[in-house]
C-alpha cells in the first residue's frame, strides 16, 4: 500500500468521523487552511520565470522536477500587499481540479502553520459581504481555540477562469479609490 492509498484509507476513516484534516498557513497575520489531501508538497521559494502580461499575483512558472508549474502569490491575490521573499517564504504545491484534469499549482504563503482535524459541523459559512468582496472561494470559517481559521476552497480559488474575474474586481477597486 503506498502513501496515497494510505491517505485515501485514512480519509475514509476521517470522513466517517466527520473529520477532515487541514493544513494551515499564514498570510498577513491571518491563518488560512486548505484540505490536506490537496497538498502535494511544501518547498522553499525558488526563483520563478515571469510570464509577461499576466496579473501581478502570478509570480510566473517554476520547474518542479521537469514539470512547468505556475506560482501564485496569495498575498497579492488577496490584495494584502507584497512581502519581500526571504528564506522562510514557502511554496505550497497544490493539486487543483480544473474541468476534466488535475493541475498542479504552487501558491506562495508567508509560512506554513499547523495541521488541524476539523469536524464538518465546526465549519461556519462565511458571511455575505455583498458584491464588493468575493467570498466564493471561502469554504467556511472554523474556530480553533480562540483563533479563527479561514478554510479555502482551492478549486474555486485557483480556477483560471475565476482568476480573470478577480482581476476585474481588483481593477474596479482601484477606480473606486
Amino acid at each position: 500500500m503506498d502513501a496515497a492509498q494510505l491517505l485515501g484509507a485514512e480519509r475514509i476513516i476521517e470522513n466517517q468521523n466527520g473529520n477532515d484534516q487541514y493544513l494551515t498557513f499564514m498570510l498577513a497575520g491571518e491563518e488560512y487552511g486548505v484540505d490536506i489531501l490537496r497538498v502535494q508538497e511544501i518547498k522553499g521559494w525558488d526563483s520563478a520565470t515571469r510570464i509577461p502580461n499576466t496579473p501581478s499575483y502570478v509570480q510566473g512558472v517554476m520547474n518542479l522536477r521537469g514539470t512547468i508549474v505556475p506560482i501564485i502569490d496569495l498575498r497579492m491575490r488577496f490584495n494584502l500587499g507584497k512581502l519581500e521573499y526571504g528564506p522562510t517564504t514557502v511554496v505550497v504545491v497544490l493539486k487543483v481540479d480544473a474541468q476534466d484534469k488535475t493541475r498542479t499549482i504552487g501558491v506562495v504563503v508567508d509560512g506554513v502553520s499547523d495541521v488541524y482535524s476539523l469536524n464538518k459541523d465546526g465549519l461556519k459559512p462565511a458571511p455575505d459581504f455583498g458584491n464588493d468582496i468575493n467570498t466564493d472561494f471561502v469554504r467556511g470559517l472554523a474556530t480553533i481555540g480562540d483563533k479563527m481559521v479561514i478554510i479555502l476552497d482551492i478549486n474555486k480559488l485557483l480556477n483560471t477562469n475565476d482568476m480573470n474575474v478577480l482581476i476585474n474586481l481588483s481593477t474596479k477597486e482601484h477606480k473606486v479609490q
Binding site: 520563478a48 520565470t49 502580461n53 512558472v61 520547474n63 512547468i68 505556475p70 499549482i105 483560471t160
Partner: protein, 711 residues
C-alpha cells in the same frame, strides 16, 4: 502448454492491412492489358499471406474470400486471363471489402456481410465467365486421387526446427500445392524425438511431396516463398516414366492422397498446437492433444481498439543500442573518475563530460528518429484516391510522387493526412480540367498531379502541384464581392486572393458536388497546418496550374531555439523563424506616424517590435545602438524584434504551459534550460498580433489621453 494465438493476432491485422496497401498500390500500377508479372506476383503474394494468416486464426470468411480472389489472380498470373479494367476495379473493390473485414476483426464488430458476399459473387461470376468463354483452358484441378501423368516434380521439403515459430504452417502449404496439382505427400518422422524430449513448438518432420501434373517450377517456389529461409527445399523434375515407388522411403507408412488433410497423428503431437486452429476440417485429434480453441476465443473477445504502435526499422534500433552502450561506458568512466578525484584528473573529467554531451545528443537525435516515418505512409493512399476521383469526374490524371522517403514525425504525419487529401481532391476537382477542355487549351489531355516532399532547413516541405486551370482570380473576386467580403475589386492583390480562398464558407464552385464546393475545407486545411506550427503558400498561374506548398516542422517535441535576453528575462525564439540578427544603425530607423518604427533592411522596410514594450518588462536598454535586432519571419511577413542581447542557440524540449496553467498570448510553450530555470518559447505570429493590438490600443489611448492630461 499451448500457444496463445491472440498475441499474434495484432500482428496479423497489421500485416494484413499492410498487405492490402501493397495490393492496392500494385493494382493501381496494373494498367489495362499489361500483365506485368512482377506486379501481379506482388498482389498475389499479399493476397496469399492474408489468406494463410486468416486461415491460421480461424477467420474462415476472409480465407474463403481471399481464396476466390487468389484464383482470379492466379489466372491473371499464368496469362490465362487478360488484365481488364473491369477485373482491376473488381479487385480494388475486393481490397476494400477485405479491409472492412479486417477492420471489423480489429474492432470486434460485425461487417456488412451482404456487401462482402456481393463482391465475392461478382468475383465468382467473373471466374465462371472465363470458364464459359474458354472451356478448354485448364482449370487448376483439385483432384483427390493421384493421377499418373507424364511429368511432375519431386519436392524434398525439410523445414528447420524453428519454422513453426515463424508462423508458417506446412498444412497450408500442402493445401496450396494441392490446388496447383495433384499431390502425394510422405512424411518422414525419423528425426522425431521421444515424447518426453519433444518441444511442441519445434518441427522435427520432413516431407517428400510428389507433384503430378504440368506445373511451372515457379508456381511451386511461390508456395514455399515464405519459408525459403526456414527450410531446405529441393525441387527435382520427374521423368516421364519414373515410378513413384523410387522415392518411397521405408518409413513412409502414411500417405496423404489429399493434401487438405492433416499430417498423421504422430506429427499432430508435435505440431497440433499451431495447426489445429488453422484446420478447417480438423481430423480427430489424439486424446492427449490439448485444446486450442480457447485462446482464439479469448482473442476475439478481447477489446481490440487500434493500438497506437509504430514500426521501426531494425537498423534504427541497433543504432540506439550501440549508443546506449557508449553511454554506459562513458557513465562508468565518469563514476570511476569521481571515486578518487583530484585536480590532476580535471582534464579527463572535462573530456568525459564532453563525451557524455555528445552521447546524449546522439541518443536524443536517434530516439527522435524512431518517431520519424517516411512520408510514403501518407502518400501511399493517393494513387487510389486519384484513381477513384478522376474516374468519377471523368478526368484523366497522372499522379507523380516524389520524395516519398522524406521522413517526418508520426504525429505530424497523422495530422497532415486529411489536409493533404483535401488539397488533392481540390486539385482534381477544381484544378485539372476535363480532357476536352484540356485539348481545347492545347494541353495534353492527361492532367498531371505531382506530390513532392523534401527537407529544407528544419522544415519539411510538401508540394501539391497540378497543371490545371489555376485559380480563376476574377471568379474569386466576383464571389468575394457578391458575399460582401471585399468592397471593390481594386483592393485585391495576389496575397488577398489566397487569403480569400482559405476563408470559411468561401467557394467558387458553381455547383455543390459530393466532392467539393461547399466551401468547407480550405479553412480547415489552413487551421490544421497552423496548429502544427506550419504554413501554406499558394502560387498559381491562370491556365497553367497551381502549386500548394505546405511547410511543416519536422517534429513537435523538440525545436532549435535562439536564446535572447530582454531585461532579466531569457526568451527562446524558434530558430526556424529567425532570418538574421544584426546590430542596428540608428540612421536606418525611421518613424512612421510618430509611433511605429521601421528598419531599412537592404531594400525592405520591416516594422520593429520592442519586445520589452509588449511584454511589459524593464529592459537593460531602450537605445537601438545598445541592443540587437533579430529579424524573424512568420506567415511570410518579416518583423524585427528588438532585444538586449543574443545568447546561445540550443535544442529545447517543448513543454506546454496549458498543462498546469493556460495558454499565454505570444508564447507557444516553455522549456527548462540547463540551469534548471524555465524559459518561455515565443510564438512569433502571436507576438506580431500582440504588437498590432497594443499599437491600436495606444493610439486610441493617445486620442483620449490628451483630454485626461488636461484635466
Amino acid at each position: 502448454m499451448s500457444i496463445d494465438l491472440s498475441q499474434f493476432k495484432q500482428t496479423f491485422i497489421e500485416e494484413s492491412l499492410e498487405g492490402l496497401d501493397v495490393m492496392e498500390s500494385s493494382l493501381l500500377n496494373l494498367g489495362e492489358g499489361t500483365a506485368n508479372l512482377e506486379v501481379i506476383n506482388n498482389i498475389f503474394r499479399a493476397a496469399h499471406s492474408i489468406k494463410g494468416g486468416s486461415g491460421t486464426f480461424g477467420f474462415n470468411d476472409i480465407a474463403q474470400f481471399t481464396h476466390v480472389l487468389e484464383t482470379l489472380l492466379d489466372q491473371m498470373r499464368s496469362g490465362e486471363r487478360p488484365v481488364t479494367q473491369h477485373a482491376v476495379e473488381l479487385l480494388l473493390a475486393s481490397v476494400d471489402c477485405l479491409r472492412m473485414m479486417i477492420d471489423s476483426i480489429r474492432d470486434s464488430t460485425n461487417y456488412d456481410t451482404e456487401h462482402a458476399s456481393n463482391v465475392k459473387q461478382q468475383l465468382e461470376s467473373l471466374l465462371e465467365n472465363r470458364d464459359q468463354q474458354q472451356p478448354a483452358a485448364p482449370k487448376s484441378p483439385v483432384s483427390t486421387t493421384v493421377v499418373q501423368s507424364p511429368s511432375g516434380w519431386l519436392i524434398k521439403f525439410s523445414p528447420h526446427v524453428h519454422m513453426l515459430k515463424t508462423g508458417n504452417d506446412p498444412v497450408l502449404m500442402f493445401r496450396e500445392l494441392s490446388n496447383v496439382a495433384a499431390v502425394e505427400i510422405k512424411a518422414d518422422y525419423s528425426d522425431l524425438l521421444d515424447f518426453s524430449d519433444l518441444n511442441p513448438e519445434d518441427c522435427y518432420l520432413r516431407w517428400e511431396i510428389r507433384l503430378t501434373g504440368e506445373v511451372e517450377e515457379t508456381a511451386i517456389k511461390d508456395v514455399f516463398a515464405w519459408v525459403a529461409d526456414e527450410c531446405d527445399l529441393e525441387i527435382i523434375p520427374l521423368q516421364r516414366n519414373e515410378p513413384s515407388s523410387q522415392i518411397a522411403s521405408d518409413n513412409a507408412d502414411v500417405q496423404h492422397k489429399q493434401a487438405v488433410t492433416h499430417p498423421e497423428p504422430v506429427a499432430v503431437q508435435a505440431e497440433d498446437k499451431s495447426h489445429a486452429a488453422a484446420n478447417e476440417n480438423p481430423v480427430p485429434l489424439p486424446a492427449n492433444a490439448p485444446k486450442i480453441t480457447a485462446p482464439v476465443a479469448v482473442a476475439n473477445s478481447a477489446a481490440n481498439k487500434e493500438a497506437a504502435s509504430i514500426r521501426v526499422a531494425i537498423d534504427k534500433v541497433d543504432q540506439l543500442i550501440n549508443m546506449v552502450g557508449e553511454l554506459v561506458i562513458t557513465q562508468s568512466m565518469l563514476s570511476q573518475l569521481g571515486d578518487d578525484f583530484d585536480m590532476e584528473k580535471l582534464e579527463k573529467l572535462r573530456n568525459g563530460l564532453a563525451q557524455l554531451e555528445r552521447n546524449t545528443r546522439e541518443l536524443q537525435e536517434n530516439v527522435m528518429r524512431i518517431r520519424m516515418l517516411p512520408i510514403s505512409y501518407s502518400f501511399n493512399r493517393f494513387p487510389r484516391l486519384v484513381h477513384d476521383i478522376s474516374q468519377k469526374l471523368g478526368k484523366k490524371v497522372e499522379l507523380k510522387l516524389s520524395g516519398e522517403g522524406t521522413e517526418l514525425d508520426k504525429t505530424v504525419m497523422e495530422k497532415i493526412g486529411d489536409p493533404l487529401v483535401h488539397l488533392v481532391r481540390n486539385a482534381l476537382d477544381h484544378g485539372i480540367e476535363s480532357p476536352e477542355m484540356r485539348v481545347k487549351a492545347g494541353k495534353n489531355e492527361v492532367g498531371l498531379l505531382q506530390l513532392n516532399a523534401y527537407h529544407k532547413g528544419g522544415n519539411i516541405i510538401i508540394e501539391i502541384a497540378d497543371d490545371g486551370a489555376g485559380i480563376n482570380k476574377s471568379k474569386v473576386i466576383n464571389k468575394a464581392l457578391q458575399k460582401g467580403i471585399i468592397n471593390s475589386a481594386t483592393e485585391v492583390d495576389e496575397d488577398k486572393i489566397h487569403e480569400l480562398i482559405f476563408r470559411p464558407g468561401f467557394s467558387t464552385a458553381d455547383a455543390v458536388s459530393d466532392l467539393s464546393g461547399r466551401g468547407v475545407g480550405m479553412d480547415v486545411v489552413k487551421k490544421n497546418i497552423k496548429e502544427l506550427g506550419g504554413s501554406i503558400v499558394i502560387s498559381s498561374t491562370e491556365g497553367k496550374g497551381s502549386v500548394f506548398s505546405i511547410r511543416l516542422p519536422l517534429t513537435l517535441a523538440i525545436l532549435d531555439g535562439q536564446l535572447v535576453r530582454v531585461g532579466d528575462e531569457v526568451y527562446i525564439i524558434p530558430l526556424i523563424s529567425v532570418v538574421e540578427s544584426l546590430q542596428i544603425k540608428k540612421s536606418l530607423v525611421n518613424q512612421l506616424a510618430g509611433k511605429s518604427e521601421l528598419y531599412r533592411l537592404r531594400d525592405e522596410y520591416i516594422p520593429v517590435i520592442r519586445l520589452y514594450e509588449i511584454f511589459n518588462i524593464t529592459p537593460k536598454t531602450t537605445e537601438f545602438e545598445e541592443g540587437l535586432l533579430i529579424v524573424v519571419e512568420s506567415d511570410g511577413k518579416k518583423v524585427g524584434l528588438f532585444v538586449d542581447d543574443l545568447l546561445g542557440q540550443q535544442q529545447v524540449v517543448i513543454k506546454g504551459l496549458e498543462t498546469n496553467y493556460k495558454r499565454v498570448e505570444g508564447f507557444s510553450g516553455a522549456t527548462i534550460l540547463g540551469d534548471g530555470t524555465v524559459a518561455l518559447i515565443m510564438d512569433i505570429s502571436g507576438v506580431i498580433a500582440m504588437s498590432k493590438s497594443i499599437k491600436k490600443h495606444s493610439q486610441s489611448e493617445n486620442a483620449s489621453g490628451s483630454k485626461d492630461a488636461a484635466a
